[in-house]
Protein backbone atom coordinates (compact mmCIF):
# COMPACT_ATOMS: atom_id res chain seq x y z
CA UNK A 1 0.00 0.00 0.00
CA UNK A 2 1.39 3.41 -0.87
CA UNK A 3 0.23 6.67 0.59
CA UNK A 4 -0.79 9.41 -1.82
CA UNK A 5 1.91 12.01 -2.53
CA UNK A 6 -0.07 14.90 -1.00
CA UNK A 7 -0.44 13.18 2.36
CA UNK A 8 3.27 12.53 2.58
CA UNK A 9 4.10 16.11 1.61
CA UNK A 10 1.60 17.48 4.11
CA UNK A 11 2.94 15.29 6.87
CA UNK A 12 6.52 16.30 6.03
CA UNK A 13 5.64 20.00 6.23
CA UNK A 14 3.84 19.57 9.53
CA UNK A 15 6.74 17.66 11.12
CA UNK A 16 9.31 20.13 9.80
CA UNK A 17 7.27 23.07 11.01
CA UNK A 18 6.85 21.73 14.56
CA UNK A 19 10.51 20.78 14.82
CA UNK A 20 11.64 24.11 13.36
CA UNK A 21 9.58 25.97 15.97
CA UNK A 22 11.16 23.93 18.76
CA UNK A 23 14.63 24.51 17.32
CA UNK A 24 14.38 28.27 17.00
CA UNK A 25 12.45 28.80 20.26
CA UNK A 26 15.61 29.35 22.38
CA UNK A 27 16.99 31.77 19.79
CA UNK A 28 13.75 33.74 19.57
CA UNK A 29 13.54 33.77 23.38
CA UNK A 30 16.99 35.36 23.51
CA UNK A 31 16.33 37.91 20.78
CA UNK A 32 12.92 39.01 22.11
CA UNK A 33 14.13 38.97 25.71
CA UNK A 34 17.02 41.25 24.84
CA UNK A 35 14.56 43.90 23.63
CA UNK A 36 12.24 43.82 26.64
CA UNK A 37 12.37 45.71 29.93
CA UNK A 38 13.99 43.56 32.61
CA UNK A 39 10.78 43.37 34.64
CA UNK A 40 9.00 41.49 31.87
CA UNK A 41 11.71 38.96 30.89
CA UNK A 42 11.56 36.58 33.83
CA UNK A 43 7.83 36.91 34.42
CA UNK A 44 6.96 36.05 30.84
CA UNK A 45 9.23 33.03 30.29
CA UNK A 46 6.45 30.67 31.33
CA UNK A 47 4.01 31.89 28.70
CA UNK A 48 3.90 32.54 24.98
CA UNK A 49 4.56 36.19 25.78
CA UNK A 50 8.23 35.20 25.95
CA UNK A 51 8.18 35.09 22.16
CA UNK A 52 6.20 38.28 21.60
CA UNK A 53 7.95 41.63 21.66
CA UNK A 54 6.54 44.28 23.99
CA UNK A 55 7.78 47.72 25.11
CA UNK A 56 10.72 47.30 22.73
CA UNK A 57 13.77 49.38 23.56
CA UNK A 58 17.54 49.07 23.54
CA UNK A 59 18.09 49.70 27.23
CA UNK A 60 19.50 46.21 27.86
CA UNK A 61 22.10 46.81 25.17
CA UNK A 62 23.11 50.10 26.79
CA UNK A 63 23.26 48.33 30.16
CA UNK A 64 25.72 45.79 28.83
CA UNK A 65 28.12 48.55 27.81
CA UNK A 66 27.61 50.28 31.15
CA UNK A 67 28.23 47.13 33.22
CA UNK A 68 31.15 45.50 31.41
CA UNK A 69 33.69 46.42 28.77
CA UNK A 70 31.89 44.65 25.96
CA UNK A 71 33.95 46.44 23.32
CA UNK A 72 37.12 45.07 24.87
CA UNK A 73 35.91 41.46 24.74
CA UNK A 74 34.68 41.92 21.18
CA UNK A 75 38.06 43.32 20.20
CA UNK A 76 39.81 40.38 21.87
CA UNK A 77 37.63 37.83 20.08
CA UNK A 78 38.05 39.56 16.71
CA UNK A 79 41.82 39.84 17.18
CA UNK A 80 42.34 36.24 18.32
CA UNK A 81 39.97 34.71 15.76
CA UNK A 82 41.32 36.90 12.96
CA UNK A 83 44.95 36.04 13.67
CA UNK A 84 44.26 32.31 13.97
CA UNK A 85 42.21 32.26 10.76
CA UNK A 86 44.63 34.35 8.66
CA UNK A 87 47.78 32.76 10.07
CA UNK A 88 46.23 29.34 9.60
CA UNK A 89 45.34 30.00 5.96
CA UNK A 90 48.93 30.98 5.15
CA UNK A 91 50.80 28.31 7.09
CA UNK A 92 48.49 25.35 6.43
CA UNK A 93 47.99 26.03 2.72
CA UNK A 94 51.77 26.11 2.22
CA UNK A 95 52.13 22.81 4.08
CA UNK A 96 49.20 21.24 2.23
CA UNK A 97 50.81 22.25 -1.07
CA UNK A 98 54.20 20.87 -0.03
CA UNK A 99 52.61 17.51 0.82
CA UNK A 100 50.42 17.38 -2.29
CA UNK A 101 52.68 18.70 -5.03
CA UNK A 102 56.34 19.11 -4.05
CA UNK A 103 59.08 16.51 -3.72
CA UNK A 104 61.22 16.76 -0.60
CA UNK A 105 62.90 14.51 1.88
CA UNK A 106 60.77 13.25 4.76
CA UNK A 107 57.51 14.08 3.01
CA UNK A 108 55.90 10.67 3.46
CA UNK A 109 56.76 10.12 7.08
CA UNK A 110 55.82 13.66 8.08
CA UNK A 111 52.48 13.35 6.30
CA UNK A 112 51.81 10.15 8.23
CA UNK A 113 52.47 12.19 11.38
CA UNK A 114 49.97 14.85 10.28
CA UNK A 115 47.36 12.14 9.69
CA UNK A 116 48.02 10.70 13.14
CA UNK A 117 47.55 14.12 14.76
CA UNK A 118 44.26 14.53 12.89
CA UNK A 119 42.32 12.47 15.42
CA UNK A 120 43.94 14.08 18.46
CA UNK A 121 41.46 16.57 19.92
CA UNK A 122 42.89 19.71 21.50
CA UNK A 123 41.30 18.66 24.78
CA UNK A 124 43.62 15.66 25.03
CA UNK A 125 46.66 17.92 25.17
CA UNK A 126 45.19 20.92 26.97
CA UNK A 127 46.70 20.02 30.35
CA UNK A 128 50.33 19.45 29.25
CA UNK A 129 50.08 22.44 26.91
CA UNK A 130 48.88 24.49 29.87
CA UNK A 131 51.96 23.37 31.82
CA UNK A 132 54.22 24.10 28.85
CA UNK A 133 52.99 27.66 28.27
CA UNK A 134 53.25 28.27 32.01
CA UNK A 135 56.95 27.40 31.73
CA UNK A 136 57.23 29.76 28.73
CA UNK A 137 55.69 32.50 30.88
CA UNK A 138 52.97 33.02 28.27
CA UNK A 139 49.90 32.95 30.50
CA UNK A 140 47.48 35.83 30.26
CA UNK A 141 48.56 36.99 26.80
CA UNK A 142 47.04 37.14 23.33
CA UNK A 143 49.97 35.12 22.05
CA UNK A 144 49.06 32.04 24.07
CA UNK A 145 45.55 32.12 22.59
CA UNK A 146 46.76 32.51 19.00
CA UNK A 147 50.07 30.79 18.33
CA UNK A 148 49.23 27.19 19.38
CA UNK A 149 46.21 27.08 17.04
CA UNK A 150 47.64 28.41 13.78
CA UNK A 151 49.19 25.16 12.56
CA UNK A 152 46.31 22.70 12.26
CA UNK A 153 46.49 19.14 11.00
CA UNK A 154 42.90 19.13 9.80
CA UNK A 155 43.36 22.31 7.74
CA UNK A 156 46.54 20.86 6.22
CA UNK A 157 44.57 17.77 5.30
CA UNK A 158 41.78 19.78 3.64
CA UNK A 159 44.30 21.82 1.62
CA UNK A 160 46.18 18.66 0.71
CA UNK A 161 43.14 16.88 -0.70
CA UNK A 162 42.08 19.96 -2.67
CA UNK A 163 45.53 20.59 -4.19
CA UNK A 164 45.81 16.92 -5.18
CA UNK A 165 42.76 17.42 -7.39
CA UNK A 166 44.07 20.47 -9.28
CA UNK A 167 45.25 19.81 -12.86
CA UNK A 168 49.02 19.53 -13.22
CA UNK A 169 48.94 21.73 -16.33
CA UNK A 170 48.46 24.81 -14.14
CA UNK A 171 51.93 24.47 -12.69
CA UNK A 172 53.55 23.33 -15.91
CA UNK A 173 52.36 26.44 -17.72
CA UNK A 174 53.70 28.65 -14.94
CA UNK A 175 57.05 26.84 -14.94
CA UNK A 176 57.37 27.35 -18.68
CA UNK A 177 56.86 31.05 -18.09
CA UNK A 178 59.83 30.87 -15.75
CA UNK A 179 57.95 31.29 -12.45
CA UNK A 180 59.56 29.78 -9.34
CA UNK A 181 57.75 27.52 -6.89
CA UNK A 182 56.65 30.36 -4.65
CA UNK A 183 55.42 32.57 -7.50
CA UNK A 184 53.56 29.60 -8.98
CA UNK A 185 51.87 28.95 -5.66
CA UNK A 186 51.03 32.60 -5.04
CA UNK A 187 49.77 33.59 -8.49
CA UNK A 188 48.54 30.34 -10.03
CA UNK A 189 47.52 27.92 -7.28
CA UNK A 190 45.97 30.31 -4.74
CA UNK A 191 43.65 32.10 -7.23
CA UNK A 192 42.41 28.68 -8.42
CA UNK A 193 41.74 27.41 -4.90
CA UNK A 194 39.15 29.83 -3.51
CA UNK A 195 36.73 27.07 -2.37
CA UNK A 196 39.23 25.39 -0.06
CA UNK A 197 40.44 28.71 1.36
CA UNK A 198 36.83 29.68 2.08
CA UNK A 199 36.09 26.31 3.67
CA UNK A 200 39.12 26.38 5.97
CA UNK A 201 38.55 30.04 6.89
CA UNK A 202 34.93 29.44 7.82
CA UNK A 203 35.56 26.26 9.78
CA UNK A 204 38.34 27.78 11.85
CA UNK A 205 36.29 30.96 12.37
CA UNK A 206 33.37 28.86 13.67
CA UNK A 207 35.57 26.91 16.07
CA UNK A 208 37.70 29.85 17.20
CA UNK A 209 34.77 32.20 17.90
CA UNK A 210 33.45 29.72 20.48
CA UNK A 211 36.68 28.72 22.27
CA UNK A 212 36.18 28.33 25.97
CA UNK A 213 38.32 25.71 27.73
CA UNK A 214 41.69 27.00 26.63
CA UNK A 215 41.23 30.69 27.49
CA UNK A 216 39.61 29.61 30.77
CA UNK A 217 42.81 27.78 31.66
CA UNK A 218 45.44 30.24 30.49
CA UNK A 219 43.94 33.66 31.12
CA UNK A 220 42.96 35.33 34.35
CA UNK A 221 42.70 39.00 33.47
CA UNK A 222 39.65 40.39 31.71
CA UNK A 223 41.91 42.43 29.43
CA UNK A 224 42.72 39.51 27.12
CA UNK A 225 39.64 37.28 27.54
CA UNK A 226 37.36 36.54 24.58
CA UNK A 227 33.54 36.73 24.41
CA UNK A 228 32.61 33.13 25.38
CA UNK A 229 34.40 33.48 28.72
CA UNK A 230 32.97 36.94 29.17
CA UNK A 231 29.37 35.76 28.83
CA UNK A 232 29.94 33.02 31.40
CA UNK A 233 31.31 35.63 33.80
CA UNK A 234 28.60 38.14 32.93
CA UNK A 235 25.95 35.58 33.85
CA UNK A 236 27.41 35.28 37.37
CA UNK A 237 27.74 39.04 37.82
CA UNK A 238 25.10 40.35 40.23
CA UNK A 239 22.42 41.57 39.86
CA UNK A 240 21.13 38.76 37.65
CA UNK A 241 19.54 40.61 34.72
CA UNK A 242 18.33 38.26 31.99
CA UNK A 243 17.55 41.08 29.59
CA UNK A 244 21.17 42.22 29.78
CA UNK A 245 22.48 38.66 29.41
CA UNK A 246 20.38 38.17 26.29
CA UNK A 247 21.53 41.48 24.84
CA UNK A 248 25.13 40.37 25.44
CA UNK A 249 24.32 37.05 23.74
CA UNK A 250 22.76 38.69 20.69
CA UNK A 251 25.75 40.98 20.23
CA UNK A 252 28.23 38.15 20.64
CA UNK A 253 26.51 35.88 18.12
CA UNK A 254 25.79 38.63 15.60
CA UNK A 255 29.21 38.63 13.86
CA UNK A 256 29.23 34.88 13.28
CA UNK A 257 25.55 34.91 12.32
CA UNK A 258 26.18 37.56 9.66
CA UNK A 259 29.15 35.61 8.31
CA UNK A 260 26.94 32.53 8.30
CA UNK A 261 24.03 34.15 6.47
CA UNK A 262 26.27 35.84 3.87
CA UNK A 263 28.42 32.80 3.18
CA UNK A 264 25.84 30.13 3.89
CA UNK A 265 26.71 28.05 0.86
CA UNK A 266 30.38 28.02 1.85
CA UNK A 267 29.51 27.40 5.46
CA UNK A 268 27.51 24.31 4.66
CA UNK A 269 30.19 23.14 2.26
CA UNK A 270 32.80 23.67 4.96
CA UNK A 271 30.90 21.58 7.44
CA UNK A 272 30.18 18.91 4.85
CA UNK A 273 33.84 18.72 3.87
CA UNK A 274 34.54 17.58 7.44
CA UNK A 275 32.36 14.62 6.53
CA UNK A 276 33.95 13.81 3.19
CA UNK A 277 36.35 11.41 4.80
CA UNK A 278 34.31 8.22 5.11
Amino acid sequence: MTLPRQIITGFSYLTLLILALLFIAPIVLMLIGSLKPEARVLVETGSLNAFIPADVDLRNYRDVFARVEFGRYLFNSVLITGMVVIGGLVVNSLAGYAFARLAWRGRRILFALVLAILILPLEAIAVPLFYQVTLFGWRDTYLVQILPFIANAFSIYLFYTFFLGLPKELEEAARLDGAGVFRTFMFVIVPNSRPVFATVAILSFLIQWGVFIWPLMVTSSEAVRPLPLAIATFYTLPPLQWGDIFAFGVMMVLPILLVFLFFQRWFVRGVVSTGIKG
Partner: protein
Protein backbone atom coordinates in the same frame (compact mmCIF):
# COMPACT_ATOMS: atom_id res chain seq x y z
CA UNK B 1 73.13 25.81 -14.91
CA UNK B 2 70.62 25.93 -12.05
CA UNK B 3 72.30 25.61 -8.68
CA UNK B 4 70.86 23.19 -6.16
CA UNK B 5 69.33 25.18 -3.31
CA UNK B 6 70.54 24.55 0.22
CA UNK B 7 67.03 23.71 1.37
CA UNK B 8 64.30 22.50 -0.95
CA UNK B 9 61.10 24.48 -1.53
CA UNK B 10 58.97 21.65 -0.14
CA UNK B 11 60.79 21.68 3.19
CA UNK B 12 60.55 25.45 3.33
CA UNK B 13 56.80 25.41 2.57
CA UNK B 14 56.03 22.77 5.20
CA UNK B 15 58.37 24.12 7.86
CA UNK B 16 56.16 26.74 9.59
CA UNK B 17 53.18 24.40 10.01
CA UNK B 18 55.31 21.44 11.05
CA UNK B 19 57.16 23.55 13.62
CA UNK B 20 53.82 24.64 15.05
CA UNK B 21 52.53 21.08 15.25
CA UNK B 22 55.78 19.93 16.85
CA UNK B 23 55.80 22.58 19.58
CA UNK B 24 52.08 22.72 20.31
CA UNK B 25 50.86 19.18 19.65
CA UNK B 26 53.64 16.57 19.55
CA UNK B 27 55.70 17.85 22.49
CA UNK B 28 52.65 18.41 24.75
CA UNK B 29 51.42 14.95 23.86
CA UNK B 30 54.75 13.37 24.86
CA UNK B 31 54.79 15.65 27.88
CA UNK B 32 51.37 14.31 28.92
CA UNK B 33 52.72 10.78 29.00
CA UNK B 34 55.85 11.87 30.86
CA UNK B 35 54.05 14.05 33.39
CA UNK B 36 51.42 11.39 34.10
CA UNK B 37 54.20 9.22 35.55
CA UNK B 38 55.29 11.89 38.06
CA UNK B 39 53.88 13.59 41.14
CA UNK B 40 54.05 17.12 39.68
CA UNK B 41 51.92 19.68 41.41
CA UNK B 42 52.51 23.39 40.76
CA UNK B 43 53.68 25.21 43.90
CA UNK B 44 54.13 22.01 45.84
CA UNK B 45 57.12 21.77 48.21
CA UNK B 46 57.56 18.04 47.44
CA UNK B 47 60.44 17.20 45.07
CA UNK B 48 59.53 16.01 41.56
CA UNK B 49 59.54 12.22 41.55
CA UNK B 50 58.91 9.40 39.13
CA UNK B 51 55.93 7.53 40.55
CA UNK B 52 55.20 5.02 37.81
CA UNK B 53 51.53 4.26 37.30
CA UNK B 54 50.49 5.62 40.72
CA UNK B 55 48.43 8.46 39.17
CA UNK B 56 46.46 5.99 37.06
CA UNK B 57 45.89 3.59 39.95
CA UNK B 58 44.71 6.47 42.11
CA UNK B 59 42.32 7.63 39.40
CA UNK B 60 40.67 4.25 39.22
CA UNK B 61 40.25 4.13 42.97
CA UNK B 62 38.80 7.63 42.85
CA UNK B 63 35.00 7.43 42.89
CA UNK B 64 34.61 10.85 41.33
CA UNK B 65 36.68 9.97 38.28
CA UNK B 66 34.74 6.72 37.86
CA UNK B 67 31.55 8.77 38.03
CA UNK B 68 32.93 11.11 35.36
CA UNK B 69 33.65 8.17 33.06
CA UNK B 70 30.18 6.72 33.66
CA UNK B 71 28.60 10.12 32.92
CA UNK B 72 30.51 10.44 29.65
CA UNK B 73 29.45 6.96 28.64
CA UNK B 74 25.80 7.60 29.59
CA UNK B 75 25.89 10.87 27.68
CA UNK B 76 27.35 9.14 24.61
CA UNK B 77 24.95 6.20 24.74
CA UNK B 78 21.95 8.54 24.80
CA UNK B 79 23.05 11.54 22.73
CA UNK B 80 24.76 9.76 19.83
CA UNK B 81 21.78 7.55 18.79
CA UNK B 82 19.09 10.14 19.56
CA UNK B 83 20.89 12.92 17.75
CA UNK B 84 21.78 10.72 14.78
CA UNK B 85 18.23 9.46 14.34
CA UNK B 86 16.81 12.97 14.68
CA UNK B 87 19.37 14.34 12.21
CA UNK B 88 18.73 11.49 9.77
CA UNK B 89 14.97 12.08 10.02
CA UNK B 90 15.43 15.78 9.29
CA UNK B 91 17.81 15.05 6.41
CA UNK B 92 15.33 12.58 4.88
CA UNK B 93 12.49 15.09 5.20
CA UNK B 94 14.61 17.82 3.61
CA UNK B 95 15.84 15.56 0.82
CA UNK B 96 12.39 15.74 -0.82
CA UNK B 97 11.54 18.44 -3.36
CA UNK B 98 9.82 20.74 -0.86
CA UNK B 99 9.30 24.48 -1.05
CA UNK B 100 11.23 26.32 1.66
CA UNK B 101 13.85 23.59 1.86
CA UNK B 102 16.72 26.06 2.20
CA UNK B 103 14.88 28.02 4.89
CA UNK B 104 14.26 24.89 6.97
CA UNK B 105 17.85 23.76 6.55
CA UNK B 106 19.05 27.17 7.72
CA UNK B 107 16.77 27.11 10.78
CA UNK B 108 17.93 23.65 11.89
CA UNK B 109 21.57 24.56 11.31
CA UNK B 110 21.36 27.88 13.17
CA UNK B 111 22.15 26.51 16.69
CA UNK B 112 25.47 25.13 15.36
CA UNK B 113 26.91 28.64 14.96
CA UNK B 114 26.04 29.51 18.58
CA UNK B 115 29.06 29.27 20.90
CA UNK B 116 28.47 26.58 23.53
CA UNK B 117 29.07 29.06 26.34
CA UNK B 118 26.16 31.20 25.12
CA UNK B 119 23.97 28.14 24.55
CA UNK B 120 24.60 27.01 28.13
CA UNK B 121 23.66 30.38 29.61
CA UNK B 122 20.44 30.65 27.57
CA UNK B 123 19.35 27.14 28.54
CA UNK B 124 19.81 27.94 32.23
CA UNK B 125 16.79 30.22 31.87
CA UNK B 126 14.86 27.57 29.92
CA UNK B 127 15.47 25.16 32.82
CA UNK B 128 14.50 27.74 35.44
CA UNK B 129 12.93 26.07 38.50
CA UNK B 130 9.38 26.73 39.63
CA UNK B 131 6.10 26.50 37.70
CA UNK B 132 6.91 29.68 35.74
CA UNK B 133 10.10 28.25 34.26
CA UNK B 134 9.92 27.84 30.50
CA UNK B 135 10.37 24.08 30.21
CA UNK B 136 8.28 23.50 33.34
CA UNK B 137 5.38 25.51 31.88
CA UNK B 138 5.74 23.76 28.54
CA UNK B 139 5.62 20.32 30.17
CA UNK B 140 2.71 21.42 32.36
CA UNK B 141 0.78 22.42 29.25
CA UNK B 142 1.82 19.33 27.34
CA UNK B 143 0.82 16.85 30.07
CA UNK B 144 -2.48 18.68 30.68
CA UNK B 145 -1.40 19.77 34.14
CA UNK B 146 0.13 16.52 35.35
CA UNK B 147 3.71 17.83 35.40
CA UNK B 148 5.11 18.87 38.77
CA UNK B 149 7.62 21.71 38.46
CA UNK B 150 11.21 20.52 38.89
CA UNK B 151 14.56 22.20 39.38
CA UNK B 152 16.20 20.45 36.43
CA UNK B 153 19.80 21.54 36.96
CA UNK B 154 19.84 20.78 40.69
CA UNK B 155 18.06 17.45 40.49
CA UNK B 156 20.49 14.50 40.61
CA UNK B 157 18.32 12.53 38.15
CA UNK B 158 17.49 15.33 35.74
CA UNK B 159 20.69 17.40 35.55
CA UNK B 160 22.52 15.09 33.12
CA UNK B 161 19.45 14.58 30.88
CA UNK B 162 19.02 18.37 30.83
CA UNK B 163 22.60 18.77 29.58
CA UNK B 164 21.94 16.04 27.01
CA UNK B 165 18.89 17.86 25.66
CA UNK B 166 20.84 21.13 25.34
CA UNK B 167 23.65 19.35 23.51
CA UNK B 168 21.25 17.62 21.12
CA UNK B 169 19.66 20.98 20.33
CA UNK B 170 23.04 22.47 19.50
CA UNK B 171 24.53 19.53 17.62
CA UNK B 172 21.75 18.07 15.46
CA UNK B 173 22.06 20.63 12.65
CA UNK B 174 25.71 19.76 12.11
CA UNK B 175 24.93 16.08 11.61
CA UNK B 176 21.89 16.88 9.49
CA UNK B 177 23.91 18.90 6.97
CA UNK B 178 26.49 16.12 6.56
CA UNK B 179 23.81 13.44 6.22
CA UNK B 180 21.90 15.57 3.72
CA UNK B 181 25.03 15.82 1.58
CA UNK B 182 25.43 12.06 1.89
CA UNK B 183 21.83 11.50 0.77
CA UNK B 184 22.24 13.80 -2.22
CA UNK B 185 25.28 11.88 -3.41
CA UNK B 186 23.38 8.58 -3.68
CA UNK B 187 22.92 7.90 -7.43
CA UNK B 188 19.31 8.26 -8.55
CA UNK B 189 19.68 5.12 -10.74
CA UNK B 190 19.82 2.95 -7.63
CA UNK B 191 16.35 4.15 -6.61
CA UNK B 192 15.09 3.69 -10.17
CA UNK B 193 16.36 0.12 -10.21
CA UNK B 194 14.76 -0.58 -6.83
CA UNK B 195 11.48 0.89 -8.05
CA UNK B 196 11.54 -1.32 -11.14
CA UNK B 197 12.03 -4.30 -8.84
CA UNK B 198 8.86 -3.24 -7.07
CA UNK B 199 10.48 -2.02 -3.85
CA UNK B 200 8.26 0.23 -1.73
CA UNK B 201 9.30 3.39 0.08
CA UNK B 202 10.36 1.51 3.20
CA UNK B 203 12.29 -1.16 1.28
CA UNK B 204 14.10 1.47 -0.74
CA UNK B 205 15.15 3.17 2.52
CA UNK B 206 16.30 -0.11 4.04
CA UNK B 207 18.08 -1.58 1.01
CA UNK B 208 19.33 1.48 -0.87
CA UNK B 209 19.54 4.53 1.38
CA UNK B 210 20.98 2.98 4.54
CA UNK B 211 23.73 0.86 2.89
CA UNK B 212 24.76 3.80 0.68
CA UNK B 213 24.80 6.14 3.67
CA UNK B 214 26.72 3.73 5.87
CA UNK B 215 30.12 5.41 5.81
CA UNK B 216 28.64 8.88 6.30
CA UNK B 217 26.60 7.60 9.24
CA UNK B 218 29.61 5.95 10.85
CA UNK B 219 31.65 9.12 10.37
CA UNK B 220 28.95 11.32 11.84
CA UNK B 221 28.62 9.02 14.85
CA UNK B 222 32.39 8.99 15.34
CA UNK B 223 32.58 12.78 15.43
CA UNK B 224 29.61 12.99 17.80
CA UNK B 225 31.15 10.37 20.08
CA UNK B 226 34.45 12.24 20.29
CA UNK B 227 32.55 15.48 20.93
CA UNK B 228 30.59 13.67 23.65
CA UNK B 229 33.82 12.73 25.39
CA UNK B 230 35.06 16.31 25.35
CA UNK B 231 31.84 17.54 27.02
CA UNK B 232 32.84 20.52 29.15
CA UNK B 233 31.25 23.95 28.58
CA UNK B 234 27.70 22.92 29.48
CA UNK B 235 28.93 21.29 32.69
CA UNK B 236 31.18 24.17 33.70
CA UNK B 237 28.50 26.80 33.15
CA UNK B 238 25.23 25.03 33.94
CA UNK B 239 26.01 22.71 36.85
CA UNK B 240 29.72 22.89 37.84
CA UNK B 241 29.68 19.08 37.80
CA UNK B 242 26.92 18.94 40.41
CA UNK B 243 24.67 18.16 42.10
CA UNK B 244 27.00 15.81 43.98
CA UNK B 245 29.09 14.94 40.85
CA UNK B 246 25.95 13.90 38.92
CA UNK B 247 27.15 15.77 35.82
CA UNK B 248 30.93 15.73 36.12
CA UNK B 249 32.89 14.57 33.05
CA UNK B 250 36.39 13.39 32.17
CA UNK B 251 37.29 16.78 30.74
CA UNK B 252 35.78 18.64 33.68
CA UNK B 253 37.87 16.55 36.09
CA UNK B 254 41.01 17.11 34.00
CA UNK B 255 40.56 20.87 34.07
CA UNK B 256 39.63 20.85 37.76
CA UNK B 257 42.77 18.87 38.61
CA UNK B 258 45.29 20.74 36.49
CA UNK B 259 43.89 24.21 36.77
CA UNK B 260 41.90 24.65 39.96
CA UNK B 261 43.99 22.32 42.14
CA UNK B 262 47.32 22.67 40.28
CA UNK B 263 47.63 18.85 40.14
CA UNK B 264 49.31 18.79 36.74
CA UNK B 265 50.33 15.12 36.96
CA UNK B 266 46.77 13.99 37.68
CA UNK B 267 45.43 16.16 34.86
CA UNK B 268 48.05 14.68 32.53
CA UNK B 269 47.03 11.14 33.51
CA UNK B 270 43.39 11.99 32.71
CA UNK B 271 44.54 13.40 29.35
CA UNK B 272 46.31 10.14 28.52
CA UNK B 273 43.15 8.16 29.32
CA UNK B 274 41.15 10.62 27.24
CA UNK B 275 43.52 10.08 24.32
CA UNK B 276 43.29 6.29 24.65
CA UNK B 277 39.49 6.55 24.56
CA UNK B 278 39.61 8.63 21.38
CA UNK B 279 42.00 6.12 19.83
CA UNK B 280 39.69 3.24 20.74
CA UNK B 281 36.67 5.01 19.25
CA UNK B 282 38.59 5.75 16.04
CA UNK B 283 39.64 2.12 15.69
CA UNK B 284 36.04 1.03 16.17
CA UNK B 285 34.99 3.45 13.44
CA UNK B 286 37.65 2.07 11.05
CA UNK B 287 36.32 -1.36 11.82
CA UNK B 288 32.69 -0.51 11.06
CA UNK B 289 33.21 1.67 8.00
CA UNK B 290 34.34 -0.12 4.91
CA UNK B 291 37.33 1.69 3.47
CA UNK B 292 35.85 2.57 0.10
CA UNK B 293 36.88 6.19 0.07
CA UNK B 294 39.82 7.77 1.79
Amino acid sequence: MPHRPFISAGTLFALPALTGLLIFVVIPFLLAIGLSLTNLRLGSPLPLEFVGLTQFLRLFEDGVFARALVNNILFTVVVVPVQTILALGLALLLNQPLKGQTLFRTLFFLPVVFPLALVSVVWILIYAPGPDGMLNSFLHLFTLGHWQARDFLHDPWLALPAIMLTSIWQGTGFQMVILLAGLQSIPEELYEAARLDGAGRWQRFWHVTLPQLRNTLVFVMLVTTILAFRLFEQVQIMTRGGPNHATTTVMYEAVQAAFSRQQVAKGAAISVIFFLLVLLITFLQRHFARQERL
